[in-house]
Amino acid sequence: MITVYVPRDSAAGSVGADEVAAALEHAAGERIRIVRTGSRGMLWLEPLIEVATERGRVGYGPVSPRQVPELIDAGLLDGADHELCVGVVAELPWLRDQQRLCFARVGVTDPLSPTDYEAHGGLTGLRQALERTPADVVAEVTESGLRGRGGAGFPAGIKWRTVLDTPGETKFVCCNADEGDSGTFADRMLMEGDPFCLIEGMTIAAHAVGASEGYIYVRSEYPDAVATLRRAIDIAYEHGWLGDNVLGSGLTFDLYVRVGAGAYICGEETSMLESLEGKRGMVRSKPPIPAITGLFGKPTVVNNVLTLASVPRIMADGGAAYAEHGVERSRGTQVFQLAGNIARGGVFETSFGITLDELVNGYGGGTRSGRPVRAVQVGGPLGSYVPVSRFDLPTDYEAFAEAEAMLGHGGIVVFDDTVDMSKMARFAMEFCAEESCGKCTPCRVGSVRGVEVIDRITGGEDPDGNLAVLNDLCELMTDGSLCAMGGLTPNPVRSALQHFPDDFTPTREQTP
């Protein structure tokens, strides 16, 4: 039997991976064993099928179901050459150059195979952690320098320390999987491609802080991730990885999946907690911080998927090994997501410090349209626009902050030179107006007025006066908003104004 790997990831599925798998089964079912894996993250190659050969896993992509018989005839099962053949997948520069700590198994293993998981290093970290005291585990995570991957970059060890030190019989670990930023999909790919890794990370967190219950809050737009996680949790219970006596250690940890209802704001951690409690997703003011007063008022770890999924490797190899990656205060690896108008989009996990230019023009291959890149938006819809002139910027939390930008969740959305940045600024306000929870005034009313003011500026109505109003509004939203939603909305607006002021003059609007 020859093993053929076909992704089950929903990005691959959206371009026909399931049909390709069916076609393979139909054409060569008796000769092959099909393993459904996560995606390797080279989305331009999807559906990318891989055949196990003596040389390694040889890839073909993008494959359409119609091409399957032809590929088999051409010797696909032997790893023969073909115009769709990309060679040994692991040797592709795109993959070879990555440091896949978090995504090590994604695209390689069957996400729901506990055997695969353990064979590829799974549970090593958890076993290590369970041998050690909670305080030791927290210390290890602190030493790794791991910071929150959701966007804010808060040191995970400090957060865990706070929860550990807060007395309470009931504590929670909550995973924020409400991945709503434009151009981001790494959380989803991990949940679909290696759910046990997240489960393991959350279990380690539970042990480290003394929690007995965990929730994964997944956005409703991710039905495949929800199904995969639920199945993985069932399997984990069956194998004693979750439940009353995790791996015989005496640790009790129960884990549940909760599905959001389509509000972007529920990706904000306090809104997420409200939503988990069954209330409308509305931001809470901090203090109190969730680490002390979190879910149902109990001490709660709230971390992003990638933060928690980084932990098993940290525990397996030690915090020091993890901290060897990266630059300055940005340690370890970041899972970049290249999206938008880009030739080669997908997931690229590498140490912090790589420049935007290397990512966008190097690995990403520039725009898909072939036109020059004009700007990228980093860190989701509330991230700043970075012009090409700043592509030397190293991916480092502090360096970005200094350039009035942010790394966020690592999403990079590329625009070519046809983009009208005033429209992008307007869109930022519109997005805020659409997604604001409505609690605080600067965000609730300010975003609506922001759209109106930008319209006046681009419409030529007292541009100078209205620019002053817009600046004041941005200042108010930045300083006065309750949460990052309203507080960061001025980022794209101001960066667009700063780097592309000409786009806001009415004359440009009138030229065809």
Binding site: A263, I265, R280, M282, S285, K286, P287, A433, E434, E435, S436, C437, G438, K439, C440, T441, P442, C443, R444, V445, G446, S447, V448, R449, E452, V453, G465, V469, D472, L473, E475, L476, D479, G480, S481, L482
Partner: protein, 933 residues
Amino acid sequence: MALLKEPDFGTPAKPGPATVSVEVDGHPVTVPEGTSVMRAAALSGIEIPKLCATDSLEAFGSCRLCLVEVDGKNGTPASCTTPVADGMKVRTQTPRLEKLRQGVMELYISDHPLDCLTCSANGDCELQDMSGIVGLRQVRYGYEGENHLDLGKDTSNPYFDFDPSKCIACSRCVRACGEVQGTFALTIEGRGFESKVSAGAGELFMDSECVSCGACVQACPTATLQEKSVVDLGMPNRTVLTTCAYCGVGCSFKAELRGDELVRMVPYKDGGANEGHSCVKGRFAFGYATHPDRVTTPMVRDSIDDEWREVDWDTAINHVATRFRELQDTYGQGAIGGITSSRCTNEEVYVVQKMVRAAFGNNNVDTCARVCHSPTGYGLKQTFGTSAGTQDFRSVAAADVIVVIGANPTDAHPVFASRMKRRLREGAKLIVADPRRIDLVRSPYIEASHHLQLTPGTNVAVVNAMAHVVVTEGLVDESFVADRCEEFDAWAEFIAREENSPEAVEAITGVPAEQLREAARLYATGGNAAIYYGLGVTEHSQGSTMVMGMANLAMATGNIGREGVGVNPLRGQNNVQGSCDMGSFPHELSGYRHVSDDAVREVFETLWQRPIIPEPGLRIPNMFDSALDGSFRGLFVQGEDIAQSDPNIQHVHAALEAMDLVVVQDLFLNETAKFAHVFLPGTSFLEKDGTFTNAERRINRVRPVMSSKTGKHEWEVPCEIAEAMGYEMSYDHPSEIMDEIASVTPTFAGVSFDKLDKLGSVQWPCNEAAPEGTPTMHVDAFVRGKGKFVATPFVATTERSSRKFPLLLTTGRILSQYNVGAQTRRTANVAWHPEDVLELHPHDAEERGISDGDDVTLSSRVGRTHLRAMISDRMPVGVVYTTFHHPDTGANVVTTENSDWATNCPEYKVTAVQVGLARHTDTEQARAAAASR
């Protein structure tokens, strides 16, 4: 006084011994740890602009007006949500902050109607105030942008309007509905700019879960939620602080007037009982005071078949005095008596009982507490030594286990219920003992740990079984019992008997033994455990026994004498406690001292210059019996409608008809007035000057909001009758009556109007030992010295279901109506409860072919009445329920003469009945009869 604007510190006080010192704009201030920067600033005299913050609600942090700067920190945190930290230096006025605040106000006003001058909140609008304070001079966004100005008004509530076009989405109303009231009827619908306050799922206020408590109206900073009376009459310009005259919670209110016209009643934040909260009755249902049905002129007639004749006060009083004396001359000194009212002030009650004891020269005085909480007086006096609840209301915030027995606080004591619900939401455990599934059993964020759904009439068996578990499972607080109590061993021997075990009584009570055991264990071991009870305890043949049973349970587990515990009656009427305190019972002088006590009598005899009979007089039911046997001929009844509210009405009517002189003093021509020969107009609480004492022994001032509509103070009337009967009894001011009460009553020795005006209120005992009153009783020792255990054998009532009357009727109250409804039926509250209904279980309904809304007959061995059926799974099978707010319901037509063995409090809560579909002719007749009344 001028219109009282209470200070608003923005966020609630944080209690706690630890303090923090900070500097606000250079002013040092020391505050309790956890205090917000906003509150600390307010305490140091600096008001930080705010809109979403108010000190009755937890900080929310949404308006972003209250931003401040903190030295050494980046950013501009909201002062309402930022707690102070030691050494913090806060700046509240900087150019940066001014600009931000103007920016926020600019956004608000860009979506707000510019009709300040014609707005009903003009002058009482925080949005208007803040615009001024931040110096907003322009709205650069213009007024043409997206807005909410077209949203329509909801005028469905009879008392307030909701105008969403003026809403600033601060959520104060939503938060008040949840945090303060605990109903969670309001919500924010939609998101972002579409956010909109909504009662339920886009419903009208009247169609929603809203209980019309007014907390949202109170909390609203603009005209969005506004009293209709303010819309109609305009802003009030002066305030009179007074006390609500509905239930025994005794809420303090600011009566706000414009000139002499009462515009609205606003709950007073400094009110000890309510701390700024209210219910639909106290807040809104005061219109009866000026209802056209009020009778304001005295009237007399020779026979109850004659028409009334209006007379002047002197004529009426002389007529009463002469006729009373004649009756005494003919039938003896004991042939007349009086009934005091729990609706009246302490001073009014005191003068009535003084009139009876000194001028009538007998002890035939009783009070309407006879029919509600007399067993409380007896039971707590026997066990603890004083006839009153042990705690203040605030104590519930320290309870870990709350037991509610035979009470329905969310309907009958709503403002206290809100406190209780707040504590339950914080995690206190709840045990409810009630045949009916009252709202508290399951309400938003609250679920009772145990609902002991007992058969009516089996309270004592249940409380005994709980005590049995405590004693036999080793859960007794041995040191408390040893140090503080007596007669424990005999009681323990009794209670440990197998007949009192949960298993033995299960068949009687219907409560599963294991559930009862768990409830008992929770009560005994769950931390501070507090018992709250109502008329479902007292109005039984063993009402007094049950009160003692609860006292035993509390003593055995050491749940007495500190915050968070206790045995607490929820009093039905505003001044039940006070009317009992004032010596209204025939066997007791003020302060619960028996008439046979020579030393006590001597105090009164010396002051009153009249001998006092050392024997008890007649109780209300005894008066009726004696009227029928001819020895009791004349009665003065103040403020109680005995012909409607007392049991076995036919018997009461016959007794009243048998009397030669019935004098009624009331606001309205009530049912009893139909049997009266003299009607003396009474005053409403808005006209009274005096004190009420609530269920927590808190003496509150009642101050006149308007002049008496009868031309006389109510306390003057008994004085004048006494004088006309030849006994000098005159006071210049009600404060003199209180001074007299204080001089003859040790527990009131320190009470005076002056002190009440100074402190707001005091809880008796208030004397040299406790000059500012006593919030918690029995702290170091019981009033009687040692707490006394009393054996409480369960004796089943003789009223039990039979083949002919297979169901048990029990009665209760509803939120919007009050008792016999004399007041609330004369307000817009009828919008919620136009008629009493008979609640019955679907099974009982189906068996009788009854559908929801059918007219049914309700009959007992003494009478029959008609009601509309409401099928309800709140009821257990075999038990039916009704309220008694409407006279044509005639609930007391079916109730029996059974009563508590010790006090003769009627057994209202158990009547064996049958229910059947009414024949059409019955219904028509009933309607006609009701109409004719």
